[in-house]
């Protein structure tokens, strides 16, 4: 472990013991730096929640064969995209046995377990974890560079060469540092989730899985008219059932999230899946969903920002990912800090390696590629018009109206488009945007 420069308490302060913070601390500590990870909860993960699926491939380089020890609930082998109207449901379902064996793909996990496990690796690498400690502000030198943090503990100032802010969505540190030029409620969604207990064998039976295989169902519609989406994830003996709601739409509609979940659970396509389940937990969290449109400046002299604090959450319809972006950005922040300390330059130029890594990898490449997706997915047409149009079209395609002959699909589409009130020009525009985003 290195000896910090005179007047400094350590080399690196990482704020926040989530996936980004732990990966940053792990990488920096493995390089021999004196790292302090500050977590406001009593243990890493105690304050964190998400929907429930993690894609840990990025960990391959950090923790080889992580799947042998990671606290996984179920390995996701079925991914379904469900489209709901009040009385209809259409599901595209995919299943792969390959996702149920190493090196796996996605998995359901509880954040208090996952984050605690990951922080344990950082600690084992030499990072010191200070829990129940809240960072209350930044310490700056005369030039404005960040040189440490204030905390809520007695004599609570801590000075370091560099601070990595992984303090989550609504990052107070990134805002205090001026890295966010503006914030807007339309950039955020509210994720709310019920954890419902069912016996493991009941979940296996209802979701057609076995041997810790799991299911990820993403839902368009079913949110009581509030722009957003729903989800159902299978844990070992619980289900995560929830909705993600666009904040301004939720406020305008004066709807209560728990009522929206209740309505979703009562849907004919969902009710049989959750019947008899016992509510164990209700939780909520704000999600940064606007992608590139809301991202802050990633560095300033003496400080980097990673994870949700940097709005690195991908919400692009069929892709809803956050933890992998957090882990990757934390990892790259750690690497950039090592590079900058070696070069003796912790200014913007010295820390530029962080943004370069983000740009050159999936972290920003996926966001750039899918930059139109969040707005498209949460648009009124996709949310309120297209589900009915598609569901009615499919219903008519499969309905047998003998003695009338089967109508042509083009005719059904034309009639249902008109019935849904969708202009052809809007449909073409959205289709083109969708193609450019997802194509």
């Amino acid at each position: 472990m290195s000896t910090p420069t005179l007047g400094l308490d350590c080399d690196v302060i990482v704020v926040g013991g989530g996936p980004a913070g732990s990966c940053a601390a792990l990488v920096a500590a493995r390089a021999g730096l004196d790292v302090v990870l500050i977590e406001r909860g009593p243990f890493p993960g105690s304050k964190n929640m998400y929907g429930g699926v993690v894609y840990p491939r990025i960990l391959d380089s950090l923790i080889p064969e992580w799947w042998l020890e990671a606290p996984i609930q179920r390995w996701v082998t079925r991914r379904s995209t469900m489209l709901l109207t009040d009385t209809q449901a259409m599901t595209v379902d995919f299943r792969s046995e390959a996702w149920g064996r190493p090196p796996y793909n996605g998995a359901t996990a509880f954040r208090p377990d996952w984050d605690f496990w990951l922080a344990g690796h950082a600690e084992a690498a030499g990072a010191q974890i200070l829990t129940s400690t809240t960072v209350t502000g930044l310490i700056r030198d005369a030039s404005g560079a960040v040189v440490g943090v204030h905390t809520d503990r007695p004599d609570g100032d801590l000075r370091a060469r560099v601070v990595i802010a992984c303090d989550g969505v609504n990052s107070f540190l990134a805002k205090e540092a001026g890295l966010y030029t503006h914030t807007d409620a339309k950039h955020f969604t509210l994720g709310v989730k019920e954890t419902l207990a069912l016996p493991e064998e009941v979940i296996d039976e209802r979701f057609n899985v076995r041997d810790r295989q799991g299911v990820d169902i993403e839902i368009l519609g079913g949110t009581s008219g509030v722009n957003g989406g729903g989800f159902i994830y299978t844990n070992l003996d619980t289900l995560a059932v929830g909705v993600v709601l666009k904040l301004p739409a939720l406020a305008a509609q004066k709807a209560r999230p728990e009522d929206i979940i209740a309505t979703l659970k009562a849907h004919p396509a969902i009710a049989p899946l959750v019947q008899g389940a016992e509510l164990k937990e209700y939780s909520a969290h704000v999600i940064p969903e606007a992608g590139l449109e809301m991202m802050p400046k990633m560095t300033m002299p003496g400080m980097l920002v990673a994870g949700d604090a940097a709005a690195l959450c991908l919400a692009a319809g069929i892709w809803l990912e956050g933890v992998n972006f957090a882990m990757a950005s934390g990892m790259y922040a750690g690497e950039a800090v090592i590079e900058a300390i070696k070069a003796g330059d912790l200014g913007s130029k010295g820390l530029a390696g962080y943004e370069r890594r983000l740009r050159d990898t999936f972290v920003l490449r996926d966001h750039r590629k899918l930059r139109r997706a969040p707005k498209l997915v949460l648009s009124d047409r996709v949310q309120h018009l297209y589900p009915a149009m598609v569901a009615n079209t499919v219903e008519r395609m499969f309905r047998v109206d003998n003695p009338a002959p089967k109508p042509g699909v083009r005719r059904i589409l034309r009639e249902e488009r008109k019935r849904a009130g969708v202009k052809l020009s809007d449909l073409a525009r959205d289709g083109w945007n969708g193609f450019r985003s997802f194509g």
Binding site: P42, L130, P154, D155
Partner: protein, 267 residues
């Protein structure tokens, strides 16, 4: 080993609701109070406080918490397996024979029999003050302590050293550790000594005694407050039940047992 005169006996306990999850383990509220009283006394007397625990290496976390709060030394008496209360007391007594003030939590969250302080006082031939809910120090070093009794009554004690004082939880709010101390505590050395008493096989789970539920008539009174008072005797002058006697310990114990039987607490 010479141990300082003020000792805080602490225990790292699993949370009763999550007995197998180390994330929820910690120091019992009563131990937190004991540590705070010990630190206050140490500051007043200008003496460093020594924190002692009995257990495996994982139990050192309670000592690191104590170090962060300001104890001068931390000693872990190694025991790889659970021990009976008397064995715990014997092991502690063996390393603190000259302690003048020993602070304990009244009972821990996990087993909560509250017997270690009593055994410890016996082993050290020290006075014991148990169930303490407030403490003040007089000029001559004697502790003025208030003890909780049944029926909302209080007993005022003057306790002179050497003494084992066990305090209830929430009677003192443990100070918040400073950041520098917290960091230093993570790397501070902890003295480890082997237990002087072999751990007898002990796998039983002991819970504090709880009297059986008894059917009670509905309380009298028109107002809710009256009914509450009737239920709890709060605010009422309760006539003393029992008698004050002076007996040798064995005879006193027998008399207490007889009284408990006559009141229906013991079969």
């Amino acid at each position: 080993m010479t141990i300082g005169s003020i000792v805080a006996c602490l225990k790292w306990v699993a949370h009763p609701g999550e007995p197998n999850d180390e994330r929820f383990a910690g120091m019992s509220p009563a131990d937190q109070s004991a540590l705070e009283f010990a630190l206050q006394q140490g500051a007043a007397m200008g003496v460093g406080v020594v924190a002692v625990t009995v257990g495996p290496a994982g139990a050192e976390r309670v000592l690191r918490d104590a170090l962060a709060c300001g104890v001068a030394r931390a000693v872990r008496i190694h025991s790889a397996r659970p021990m009976q209360s008397d064995d715990v007391a014997a092991a502690i007594a063996a390393v603190i024979p000259d302690a003048t003030w020993v602070w304990c939590g009244d009972y821990s969250l996990d087993r909560g029999s509250g017997s270690v302080p009593a055994f410890l006082a016996g082993r050290l031939a020290a006075q014991q003050a148990l169930g303490i809910i407030s403490v003040s120090r007089s000029a001559d070093g004697v502790i003025e302590a208030t003890r909780r009794l049944d029926g909302g009554r209080r007993e005022l004690l003057s306790v002179a050293a050497p003494a084992v004082v066990s305090v209830e939880g929430a009677t003192a709010h443990l100070r918040r550790a400073g950041l520098a101390a917290l960091r230093a505590a993570g790397k501070a050395p902890i003295e480890v000594v082997q237990s002087s008493t072999p751990a007898a096989p002990y796998d039983a789970v002991v819970h504090p005694y709880r009297p059986r539920a008894r059917a009670l008539a509905a309380p009298a009174g028109d107002a809710a407050l009256d009914r509450l008072r009737a239920l709890t005797d709060a605010g009422a002058a309760v006539s003393a039940r029992g008698e004050q006697v002076t007996l040798e310990p064995a005879a006193a114990a027998a008399k207490i047992v007889d009284a408990l039987k006559s009141w229906g607490y013991l079969a």
